[in-house]
Amino acid sequence: MTVTYVEVARHRRAGEPLAPLRDRARASLGDEDLQGALRVMAGRFNVGRRIAMSDPAVSGLREKGMAIRSEGVARLRENLARLEKSLTDLGVHVHHAADGAAAVRVISDLARARGVKKVVKSKSMATEEIDLNAHLEDIGIEVVETDLGEYIVQKAHERPSHIIAPAVHKSRVQVTTLFSELAGHPLPDRREDLCAFAQERLRDDFLTADMGISGVNFACADTGTLVLVTNEGNGRMTTSLPPIHVAVMPIEKVLPRFSDLGVMVPLLVRNATGQKLSSYVSFLNGPRREGEVDGPEEMHVVILDNGRTGLLGTPFEPMLRCIRCAACLNVCPVYGTIGGHAYGGTYSGPMGAVLAPLLHGGEEFDDLPEATSLCGACSSVCPVGIPLHELLITLRQRARTSRGKRWFFGLWSRAWSRPSLYRASARLARYGRPLARLTPPGRRWAEGRTLPEPARQTFHAWWAKTRTAP
C-alpha cells in the first residue's frame, strides 16, 4: 500500500489519479533512502545560498532582480511581441502553444516531418510539465535526457523530484545499482566512475541525435538571445550538435533587455547552487549562419502558455516572476520532510504548491496548498520577492473545502466574536476534554502528541479574580 503511493507520485504521468496529500506525505516519510537524501540535501544548498547571497559584492542584487522581473511580467505581452520579432530576425522559427497538447503537437509534427529518430534533451521543467518525453516515445522516437540527474531519473523510469537537482532523492548506492544494471556489469560506487559511465554513453547519443530539445532560462526581448544556465555542458551539446534545435519556453522567461542578464544570471545561480556563476552560461543567437562551423541548421522556439496568461492581473501574477532557482524548495521544512514527489506534480516545494493548482486547475491539487506550515521561509528567501506563503493562503481560500470545515469556522467565528460565548467555550473545552479525542482535530492532534490540558483557571478568570476584585 505504502509503496503504491510512492510509486504513484514518482512515476505518475500527467492526468493519472493522485492519492491524497496526506497519503503521499506518509509514503515519503516511510522511504528511508529518500529521508537520508533529504537530510544531506538541505544543508548543502542552504549553506551555499546563504554565503553566496551575503557576499557584499552582490548587495542590492535581489532588489534589482525583483524590479526587472516585476517590470517584465507587468509588460509581458509587449515583451513577448518584441522577443518574437527579434527571434524571427535571427532566423528562428517561433511557435505559440496555448497548452501542453499544442506544444506536443508542434514538436511531434516537426519531428515527423524531419524524420527524427532520436532526440537528446537538456534539462527542462517545461517539457516535464507537458509530458513531452512520453508523447515523443509514443510516436516511436527515442528520447535521451543528458543532464546527469535527468538521465538517472529517466533510466529509473521516475520523475524529477527537485527542479534543479532532479535525482536528489536517490542515494549514490541506488545510482550505482541502476548504472550497473545498464552497464551489464558491476560499477564501482565512486562518483567519478558513475559520471564517466554516463558521459561515455551520452557522447554517442549527442553524435547520433537528429534533434536537440532544451528549455530556456532567460530570453532577451531586445536581442532574441536565449540563455541556458548549466553546470555540465550538456546544454551546449544539445543545442549545437544535432541539426535541429527546439527550445521550449514558458512565456514568463522573457526579460526586457539583454543587459538584465547582468543581474538575473548571478541572482539565479547564487540562489540555486550557491555558485558565483555556473560552469556554463550559453547565449544562443539563432541557427548556424553561413561560414560558421557549428550550430544547428534549424532552430525553433515553442512559446508555451499552458494557463499562465490567466494569472495576469490576478493575485497570483507575482508567481510569473519565478526564475526556478529552487531556493524555496531547499529552505522549506515541509519539502525537507516529504521531498518533491509527494507534491504530485511537475513542480514541488512552495513554488510547486502554488503553481500546480493554478496550472492544472483540477480538484486533484486542491489539498496541495495545505502542504505548508506557513512559516514564510520561502517568501523570505525568494530572490524575486514572491510572497509564496501568502499566495498559499489565498489558494486555500479558493480550494473546494469540506462542508464540515466551513461549518466549523462559521460557527466558531460567530461564537468567538462574542466575549461571553468565548468564555463559555473555554469552560466547555475543559469539561469536554475527555471527548476531544473523538473529534477529528483532537484525534489528529493525538497522532504523535499528548492532548494539551486546558488550564484550570483561564487568564480571563485569573485577572477578574486578582486584579478587578475590590
Binding site: 517568501s379 466574536s417 486578582t466
Partner: protein, 246 residues
C-alpha cells in the same frame, strides 16, 4: 521611585495563552509592570482570527478581526506575548480590513520591551541555560530576531543554540491538526536539535510552538522543559513584582 506618567499598555493575552497557558500571560504582566508600565486587560478580547484566516476563511476571520479592533481601539499600545498573533494584526489585518483601517499599535512582548521601551534589562536574574526557538511569524513577518535574545541575555540566561534555531517547528496552526503526518516529524527534527544542545529547556515567544513541541516531547518521553521567554525571565524578578496588585 518617582517616575513620570506610566505608559498604559493593553495586554492582548491571546486565546491560546488564556486557555492553555495563563502563566505566560501572568509572566507578561510582571515583565510589563517591572518595566514601569500600567497594564490593563480589556475583558472583551477573544482571538485575533488567525486560525480562520490561515485555513482559507477570510470572512470568518474578518468577524473576529472587527471584534478585536473594536475591543482594542481605545488603547494607544497593545502588547501580546505572541509573535504570531502580533503578526496577524500588523501584517494581515491591513489585507483583511483594508489598508486604511486604523489599527491599535500592536507589539510582541520582547519587541516592545527592547525596541519600544529600550528596556531589555528589567532587573531579573536567572541562572539557567536554554535553547531559543525563533518562532516563524515573529522572525519573518515582524522581523524580530534579536529582542528575545536581548531580554534573555540581560537576565543572565545562557543560550545554547540549536543547529538551525530559525527552522519551523511544524506547528503551523491548523497545519498541526490537518497534517500531523508532516507536523510531527517537523517537531521531531526541532526536538532532536534542541536535545543535542544539552540545554534542559527550550524557550520561545509563541505558545503554539511550545504547546506542539511540549506535547510531542511528552509523547516521546523526552526530558526537556518548555517555557515562554516571559516565564523564564519573570522567574528571576524579585518578590516585589510578584503576581497580584501592587
Amino acid at each position: 521611585m518617582a517616575q513620570s506618567v506610566k505608559r498604559r499598555v493593553a495586554l492582548f493575552v491571546t486565546c491560546l495563552v488564556d486557555q492553555v497557558a495563563p502563566e505566560v500571560g501572568q509572566a507578561a504582566v510582571r515583565l510589563l509592570e517591572a518595566a514601569g508600565c500600567e497594564v490593563v486587560f480589556p475583558a472583551g478580547q477573544t482571538c485575533c482570527g488567525q486560525p480562520a484566516y490561515n485555513a482559507g476563511f477570510p470572512d470568518d476571520a474578518l468577524r473576529l478581526a472587527r471584534h478585536h479592533v473594536d475591543v482594542f481601539a481605545p488603547y494607544d499600545t497593545v502588547v501580546t506575548p505572541s509573535g504570531s498573533c502580533a503578526a496577524m494584526v500588523r501584517h494581515f489585518y491591513p489585507q483583511l480590513l483594508g489598508a486604511d483601517t486604523a489599527l491599535p499599535p500592536t507589539f510582541e512582548l520582547t519587541e516592545f520591551l527592547v525596541d519600544e521601551l529600550g528596556r531589555p534589562d528589567l532587573g531579573a536574574r536567572v541562572d539557567a541555560t536554554v535553547t531559543y526557538h525563533a518562532s516563524c511569524h515573529l522572525l519573518r513577518e515582524l522581523g524580530v530576531a534579536d529582542a528575545p535574545r536581548a531580554v534573555l541575555d540581560a537576565a543572565g540566561v545562557k543560550v545554547s543554540d540549536m543547529a538551525d534555531p530559525e527552522r519551523c517547528c511544524g506547528f503551523g496552526g491548523t497545519f498541526s491538526v490537518t497534517h500531523p503526518e508532516m507536523s510531527v516529524p517537523m517537531a521531531d527534527a526541532k526536538l532532536d536539535q534542541a536535545v543535542a544542545t544539552g540545554a534542559p529547556t527550550l524557550v520561545a515567544c509563541d505558545t503554539g510552538c511550545l504547546l506542539h513541541l511540549r506535547t510531542r516531547a511528552a509523547a516521546r518521553g523526552l526530558d526537556l522543559g518548555f517555557r515562554h521567554v516571559a516565564e523564564v525571565v519573570a522567574g528571576g524578578l524579585g518578590a516585589e513584582h510578584e503576581g497580584g496588585a501592587r
